[in-house]
Structure formats: C-alpha cells, structure tokens
C-alpha cells in the first residue's frame, strides 16, 4: 500500500485534560479499549481554567503540531465556573493565533465528561486527522536557519 504524506507524518499533539471530567473520560476510553492515535499525549490539569494560553503558545514554540483543551461540559465544572473562564480565554487566544502565525485549526476546545469515553476517542481521532491534513507546524519555524 503506498504511503502518502498524511500517513507517514506523526504529529505532536498535546492534550490538556481536566482532572474531573476529561481525564476520567480518557481513562474510560482506555479501559473500554477505544483506540486513538499515539500522537496524543495528555497533560493532567485540575481544571480547564488552569490552562494558561502561554502553555499553548509554548507548546507550538517547542514544535507541537496541535493542542487540544478538554474540560467538563458547561454547567458541569467541578469548580462551578472554571470551564467558562477557559472558554473565554481560549476564544480570545484562538482569535489571535492566525496573527501569530499558527493556523486556527491546530487548536480545539472540547467538552468531554467522565462518562464520554466514545466522545473522547472520537474527538482525538478527528483532531489527529485534522492536524495530519494541516501537516507539520512549520510556520513558526525560523526559515533563516534552514539551508
């Protein structure tokens, strides 16, 4: 079978998951054996509101190809309002990404509850596909260093 570029490219994807819903959803996806690509690496945070926009920029700076933030559904936040803060902050950050030089499709916010293993797995599968279609995150790389 011929390998095309999207298949050989293994993107680096950072997933910030809140401890209460999404991280537990990822665990349930695991125990239910609902596969998603190994490109996704999860960082546990107490709440999606702990995700500083700087963390996302840092990830891109260090060569990440995609960053996804997962939290509890609106209204279900363990800390009542954290995911609302995350939503606002990310809306603002995302609106400025193109300006910085990062395609908007490299980031996503998704609400995944502790019971939504299927949604977690599907989300990760579709996000990886989306990043693969975008290709490597080269726009932030310094072209002058390339020979």
């Amino acid at each position: 079978m011929p390998m095309n570029s999207t298949e050989s490219f293994a993107p680096k994807i950072v997933a910030f998951c809140c401890n209460w819903c999404s991280y537990a959803g990822a665990d349930l996806a695991g125990s239910s054996r609902l596969a998603y690509p190994a490109d996704v690496k999860i960082i546990k945070v107490p709440c999606s509101c702990r995700v500083n926009p700087m963390f996302i920029l840092r990830a891109f700076e260090k060569g990440a190809d995609g960053v996804i933030i997962c939290g509890c559904h609106p209204g279900d936040c363990h800390y009542s309002t954290g995911n609302y803060y995350a939503r606002r902050r990310m809306t603002l950050l995302f609106s400025m990404l193109e300006y910085i030089g990062i395609e908007k499709d490299r980031v996503r916010v998704e609400w995944v509850s502790a019971a939504e293993a299927v949604k977690f797995s599907e989300t990760m599968n579709s996000f990886v596909l989306q990043i693969k279609n975008l290709g490597e995150n080269v726009r932030l790389g310094d072209l002058r260093c390339k020979s």
């Binding site: 680096k12 991280y23 537990a24 609902l34 596969a35 060569g63 279900d76 939504e116």
Partner: protein
C-alpha cells in the same frame, strides 16, 4: 537537584504486552535527575511497594515517578508508599501508561515511544515538585440525605443508628418515594407498604433523624466535611406542630379536582391533602394552585373545621441553613414521558397505561380499590397485553439506550398477580429479551410462564390502535414463529423506561457532582467506588446512580451510609495541599484573582514587603488554603504572574509541555 527513581509497572501483561517496559526504564536513566530506574510485574503489590522503599533507601531518592495505571486508580497507593519510605507524598508523579497508552495502542514500537514520552514528562515535572504538607479541616458531624424514598430512608436510618445526626430533604409532602406507590414487590410478592411504612415510621421516630418534607435544596457551598446547605421549606399553609392529622380538612375541602400525584393522575384529590393515608409526616399541605382561599380569598373552610387551629394561610417559604459533613443523593427516578410513543396510543386511550399506573390500580388504596378495571369504562378487562422495553434499549435517540432493569421482573409479577386473582383473564407479554438475573428471579419468571400460563411472545409491538368498540388492537410480531400477530386487548400496559428524577440535573450542578449523558450520577469508580461521587463528600444511593430494584437499592443505601459513617467518624480531614499562593513581590493587588475565585478564598492584606531592599507596604492577595480547592482559575487570570498553584505550577506544566514536544 532531585534524585528521582522511576518504576515501570508491567501490570501483569496489561502494560508489558504492548509497552517494552525494560526500554522505558532504560530510557529514563538518561533523563535529568533520574538516578534509578526499574521495572516490576505489579508495582502496586506489597512486594512492588517494598521495591520502592528499598530503592529510596539505597539510592537516597527524593522523588518518584511511577509508570503505571491511571493516577485515579493508584496515585493514593503510591503516595502512601512514598510516605512510608520517608518521601513527601507529593514528590510522586504517575505516568499513565496503561489507560492512556498500552490499552489503546496495538503497535509495540509506537506504544513504547509514547510511554517513554509520558514518563519523561512526569520526570520533568517531579524535578520541579516540592514537598507539600496537607492541612487539616474539621468535620461537621451531620449528614444530609436528599430524597426520602427507600434509598434515602435506608441511608438515613443506617447513619442515624451509628449515632450521627441525619437530615432528610424530600420535595413531596411525605417520605416514601416510589416504593410507597407499589402494590407488591418481586420476587416474594410481599406487600410494599407493609415493609416500607414501618421504616418510614422508624425514620420519623428516630431521635437522630430530622425530616424536611415539601422542601428542596436551594444552595450548596463548602466542601467535604464542611458543607453549608440552604434548604427551602415550601409553605405548607399548615402548622406541623399543631396538626393532629385527623383528616377532616381534606374531607371538607370543596376543591377536589386536582389530579392525585400519588395515584399517577388516575384519581382526584382535594386542594388540602396528604398524598396517601400512611404519609410521614401525617400533616397535609395546601396546594396553592388549587386552594380557593389562596386563589380568591374566599372559602377558608379547612380553617373553620380544624379543631387544632393548624391552618395558616399566611405561611411563607422558609430558608433553613444547616451545616453537614457529608451529602447523600437519593433522588430516585421517574417514568419517562410517553409523548414520543404515540404508536402505543398512550395519549389516545385511557386503557393504555404504564406499569406504575397498574400498580396503583391493583393497590387496595388505589383509584379502583384494588379491582382490576379499565379506566375508560370501569369494566373488567378480559385480555391484557404487556409491552416491554417502551423507551428502554433504544438504538435511536427517541428513548433511552440503557435497560431499565426492573421491568422484566415487575411485568412477570403483574402477569402472575392478575392470573392468580382473575384466572379467566388472558395475559400476553411482548418482550425483546427476558432478563432475570437475581436471586430467585428466574424461578419467579418461570412460574409466571409455567404455573400461571402467561403467554410470552418474543417480539416487539409496532402499533396499538383504539377501536370504536373501546377495545385495543395490538399489532406485533412474533419473532419465534416469524409472523405478524394481531391481538385484541381490553387493556395495554406499557413497561415504560425509568430515568433519573428531573431535579437531579440542577442538584448535580449545585453539588458539582458529575452526571452522565443519561443524567445518572457518575460514581467515583464504576467497580471499586460505586457509592461515592467523584466529588469528595458526596455519596450516591439508589436509582440516581443507575437503574436498580429494591434489594439493590437498599444494599447501595447501606453501602453509602457506611461510607458516610466512615467520614463522619473522623474528627478532621486532610485537605488537598494543591492550593494557590501568591508571590508577594510580584502581586500588585489588582483583585483580578479574587474576581474569578469560585470559593471566595482570596482576600487582600496590606503587608510590608522587602522588594530588593526597598521596604514598603503593599496590597497583596492572600489565599485561604482551607477554602481554596485548587482549580487554578486565579493563576491564569493574574496579570503579573504572581499566582501559582501547588502541584500544578506554571513551571511544572511548562516542563511537561517541553518534555512532550522535545
């Protein structure tokens, strides 16, 4: 500089079959700060923990990384092991290489690579960990049980018997719940009221139990051991202290057109009413939407006939604030709305009823005094058809995807009781599967078929048509014979799906307890912590957690009570030390953090600081660590970067990001 030990768990073959554990351990040896790395079959076992203790001693470790299952599973285990070995428990990080690696990947190379990256992220984090000391908080020695059905009653009784005070909050005028509406219970056929009402009376008489009926939870704040709850006591318009429960007011009330909730709307009740004769407390309430006096100012008959002078039209809703150490949710279930199921003609014919309605019809205190009658014309039915799985096990979005669990058994019970009392009545049951797991359950079902001759037909009902002569034609399919069947029936009983009580959504938000897509409350672990919510201090009892029958509900209620007793027996709890703190040299006192804090944990103080030799008084944010729950909202909102979170500091998370992207 940390001295980190990395321990890679095989988890039998759960991890080792997909992840090359030896390579992971080897790779970690070249990571910054790692002085020891090893793998072992079961890290969580006693010998695994012993290995940790030995390594700590031999290599003088200051931090640990365990590459194993999810931290939700064994973080506490390894923290304890660390503490035993003499390391601060918060110097431990878990790399989740089972749920988030070996179990979802098949390719050994890919999975091993990923495990290495997850492990090195954990190592990078531990390099920046600092020892944390958990604080202590006192425990309020009182429990709140929300819901006064059999689940709530049993939980309350068990907690109270252990010597702790319990409050029950029930939104209807009486405790008893759904079980009080049932006639007989499977598989023993004992009368529901006979086994329930003594428990209701015990509850009311128990010196440690306070019952708030006709009340709802209005607001919840605080955390495990220290909840503060506002309970709204709705105006009853009857003084509970004075009322003797004689019932004269209900008899004399001229407004008798309200539908009885207790009888599923099959009979009427007066505007002043107790839901049923054995209600606890036996104090009526006035329905303000039905009461002539409250609506028009005229009437007042109940006040006139009340010898105890208990009627009080001026009563207002009252908010009671109480403090609790633990909260048990026992909100139970409702039968689903059947509007989407018009093919069964539920809205078109009075003789198409739900099973709960049949319970009321068969009950001696019900609308027909226990005589099996058609609700349309009062005639005795000769042919009854039961339809199973109405709204349960639906593949489409119309109904519920889950099995309601109790319907197979109660339908067998109904069929058997009808055949026993009225042997000339033909009973047919359309079913997808008959599910009877449970002690003496299958024997019970077989009795219905073999001894009582109930006609079980495997297949679904497509349509129920009301005929002009008042009968109902049931169009179904018999899958075993492979043919269409048409049965003329006088009564059709729908085993409608059950769903969590509608109030649970709002309650879950108030308690910050998580619920699943079907509105059932999520348990902390589906197998190992089935009666605890992931939110500390919140426990689950009964159907609010998932469909179950009475024996299971009672067992779960007892289990929840045991958990509550375990909590209340403690004098103090260790608090999560992963709280926020502000750097006084960076803080400019702008108040941004206090504005986003959901717990009001941040206040400001004028404090003298020494900023590189300059002494001055500045307004500085102070975090009350007893109130802070560690969400981290403040850390991101802080414009000067002064706020940081213990255990999830900016530097730690950035180190993880870097390690993953390296």
């Amino acid at each position: 500089m940390q001295r980190i030990g990395v321990f890679v768990c095989h988890c039998g073959s759960n991890i080792a079959a997909t992840v090359d554990v030896k390579r992971v351990a080897l790779a970690m040896l070249s990571e910054n700060g790692v002085v020891f790395a090893d793998d072992y079959q079961y890290m969580c076992s006693e010998s695994g923990q012993l290995k940790i203790a030995q390594a700590v001693k031999e290599h003088n470790l200051t931090g640990l990384v365990i590459c194993s299952c999810s931290p939700r599973m064994h973080e506490a285990t390894f923290r304890k092991a660390a503490e035993k070995a003499g390391i601060n428990p918060y110097m431990v990080e878990i790399a989740n290489i089972r749920e988030q690696c070996s179990w979802i990947h098949k390719d050994i190379e890919q999975a091993t690579q990923k495990a290495i990256i997850l492990a090195r992220a954990a190592v990078a984090k531990v390099n920046l960990n600092s020892p944390l000391i958990a604080g202590k908080s006192p425990v309020k020695k009182r429990a709140l049980v929300i819901g006064g059905g059999i689940a709530g009653i049993q939980t309350a009784l068990d907690i109270a018997d252990a010597g702790f005070e319990v409050d029950i909050v029930e939104k209807t005028p009486s405790i008893g719940g759904k079980m009080s509406q049932l006639d007989k219970t499977f598989p023993t056929l004992d009368c529901s009221a006979c086994i329930l009402t003594p428990k209701m009376v015990d509850c009311a008489a128990h010196e440690k139990i306070t019952i708030f009926t006709y009340s709802e939870v209005e607001n919840v704040s605080g955390f495990v051991g220290n909840f503060t709850v506002d309970i709204k006591k709705k105006a009853r318009y009857v003084d509970s202290a004075k009322c003797t429960g004689c019932g004269l007011c209900q008899e004399k009330c001229p407004s008798k057109k309200a539908l009885s909730e207790f009888n599923c709307g099959l009979s009427n009740r007066s505007a002043i009413y107790t839901p049923f004769a054995q209600a606890v407390p036996n104090v009526p309430v006035i329905d303000p939407l039905q009461c002539i006096k409250l609506k028009t100012g005229k009437c007042g008959l109940c006040e006139k006939v009340c010898a105890a002078n208990a009627i009080d039209y001026t009563q207002k809703d009252e908010i009671i604030t109480r403090e609790y150490g633990a909260i048990v949710v026992a909100t139970g279930f409702d039968v689903i709305n059947l509007d989407n199921y018009d093919e069964y003609a539920y809205s078109q014919s009075k003789d198409v009823i739900t099973s709960l309605e049949l319970e009321r019809i068969m009950n001696a205190a019900g609308p027909t005094k226990g005589h099996l009658e058609r609700m349309s014309d009062g005639k005795a039915p000769k042919n009854i058809v039961f339809v199973q799985c109405v709204g349960s096990r639906c593949a489409d979005n119309k109904g519920k995807s889950y099995c309601s669990k109790i319907c197979c058994m109660y339908t067998a019970k109904h069929a058997m009781l009808i055949r026993d009392k009225y042997p000339d009545v033909n009973v047919s049951v359309f079913y997808i599967d008959v599910r009877t797991p449970g002690k003496n359950f299958d024997e019970f079902y077989r009795r219905a078929v073999e001894e009582y001759g109930v006609n079980y037909i495997k297949g679904q009902v497509g349509k129920v048509t009301p005929e002009p002569d008042g009968s109902l034609t049931v169009h179904g399919v018999d899958l075993i014979d492979g043919r269409q069947v048409k049965i003329s029936a006088d009564m059709v009983v729908l085993a409608a799906a059950i769903e969590p009580n509608a109030s649970v959504r709002q309650l879950a938000t108030q308690l910050t307890a998580s619920i699943d897509t079907n509105n059932f409350l999520t348990e902390a672990h589906p197998k190992l912590r089935p009666v605890e919510s992931p939110t500390a201090g919140v426990f689950l009892s009964g159907v609010c957690q998932g469909p179950k029958d009475i024996p299971e509900t009672v067992s779960q209620a007892g289990a929840a009570a045991a958990k509550v007793i375990g909590l209340l027996a403690k004098n103090e709890l260790t608090t999560n030390p992963c709280t926020a703190h502000s750097d006084e040299l960076l803080c400019n006192g702008c108040s941004a953090c206090a504005n986003v804090c959901p717990y009001g944990a941040i206040s400001y103080q004028d404090k003298e600081v020494n900023d590189h030799g300059i002494r001055e008084t500045r307004r500085i944010a102070m975090v009350n660590t007893a109130l802070c729950q560690g969400c981290g909202a403040c850390t991101v909102t802080c414009p000067s970067g002064a706020m940081d979170l213990n255990g999830f500091s900016n530097k730690q998370i950035i180190a993880e990001v870097d390690a993953i992207c390296r």
